[in-house]
């Protein structure tokens, strides 16, 4: 579905046909979910947040003027939502009795349908370490690497979404990768 098709569906939604938003959700849900999941590392939480992001997008749809691609607009909502969510979470953790994440939580993040259980266990363990290290990156690097290397956005889309210039996008991607690569190397993963 192209941006033109997105716009057609948006026009239908604005005219009152809410069901016309369904193909848009189907198109972007994986991308939004991956970003959220990479940031928060909890499947159920990521599911709820993804749903909220789409609801927020429907509610804010009138403000979409078509000056940028719809996907860019949606990603901006996604990023802002996650930033605010994290702030709220941090505020809450100040009064929480136990803010640390239980290691076992990671065990429920992966699908159970395994073709080769041994490989799957090794892969899951590698991915767990990888995710930990992504989480530990500074915000500027973490967000941009999720967008680029997990969600597969182009440099230009990242530039539009984050509102930073293209050369800055490239610099952050390469520096972020280098930092992450060094940390993974130190942990013996690569």
């Amino acid at each position: 579905m192209s941006n033109t098709e997105d716009i057609k569906n948006i026009e239908k939604v604005l005219a009152g046909d809410i069901e016309a938003f369904t193909p848009i959700i189907k198109k972007y849900q994986d991308m939004v979910f991956r970003y959220v999941y990479s940031k928060f590392n909890n499947y159920d939480e990521a599911l709820d947040i993804t749903q909220d992001i789409f609801i927020m997008a429907i509610e804010a749809l009138k403000s979409f003027r078509g000056e940028s691609k719809f996907s860019t607009w949606l990603y901006s909502i996604m990023i802002n939502y996650c930033k605010n969510y994290r702030k709220k979470q941090n505020r809450f953790s100040l009064v929480s009795m136990n803010s640390s994440r239980d290691e076992d939580e990671y065990d429920i993040q992966y699908p159970d349908e395994r073709e080769r259980p041994e490989d799957e266990v090794i892969m899951n363990d590698s991915l767990r370490i990888m995710k930990e290290e992504i989480q530990n990156l500074p915000d500027d690097y973490r967000d941009i690497l999720i967008l680029r290397d997990i969600d597969g956005l182009s440099y230009n889309d990242i530039s539009d979404t984050l509102g930073i210039n293209l050369s800055n996008v490239k610099v952050r991607i390469h520096r972020g990768r280098e930092l992450l690569k060094n940390r993974l190397y130190e942990r013996g993963l690569i």
């Binding site: 809410i18 069901e19 938003f21 369904t22 193909p23 959700i25 189907k26 849900q29 994986d30 979910f33 991956r34 999941y37 990479s38 599911l47 993804t50 749903q51 789409f54 609801i55 429907i58 509610e59 993040q109 992966y110 699908p111 892969m123 899951n124 590698s126 991915l127 990888m130 995710k131 690497l145 290397d149 997990i150 969600d151 597969g152 440099y155 490239k170 991607i173 390469h174 520096r175 990768r177 280098e178 992450l180 690569k181 993974l184 190397y185 993963l189 690569i190």
Partner: protein
Amino acid sequence: MNGKHIMFQKMSQLMDNDIATEEEKNSILDHIQSCDQCRREYARLQEMMKLFAGIRKNDRLRADLSGSVVKEYLSRKRKKSFFKIMPAVAAAVVFILAFGLNSYWQGGRHTSRIASSSLSVAPANDTSKVVDIISRNNAKILKVTDLYIEGEVSGGSFKRLRKELGFRKVSYAFVRGESGTSSNFIEEVGTLSNKAYMDAETNGNPSRAIRFRVYKE
């Protein structure tokens, strides 16, 4: 390239196919082939990119969210609409309750001391006095407008009610039969001047209903 080894940034650009010229790209690839250190570094980068791909493949939704998003959106919209009209509904409920409670209390059937004390501190105005009088005479309040309070009372109680209303402007009409329609309102001020007419209309039947209006000043 720093002359000896390839900088990580160039390898990262190579990974993204973002090297400016084909010549430069070939030069970087040639160096990686021939330099152990750069080859190992590039292999680590490739490993890392595989892990990214693993996350991309693994972290997928196990369900289609489109249905639940639309359903949740509509549910929240309904809730928002409900909360928008809540102040008006609440105001109406408060008015009706206050009015009903007052009528009920004034009718002498309520014994709550709390209600009694709370009502007694309310500023007395003529409307509440009229409601008081109407309730005391076992009349029903049917309508409250800016101009008048309309009610219904049995013929037997109307005379006493009218007397208690005293100086106030009152009009009344006789309710006809089962249909509940009323004749034209007869307007009068002060004492009950149309007693003979009223007696004729009620035919001495004190249970015949009379619709009345007490006008506000």
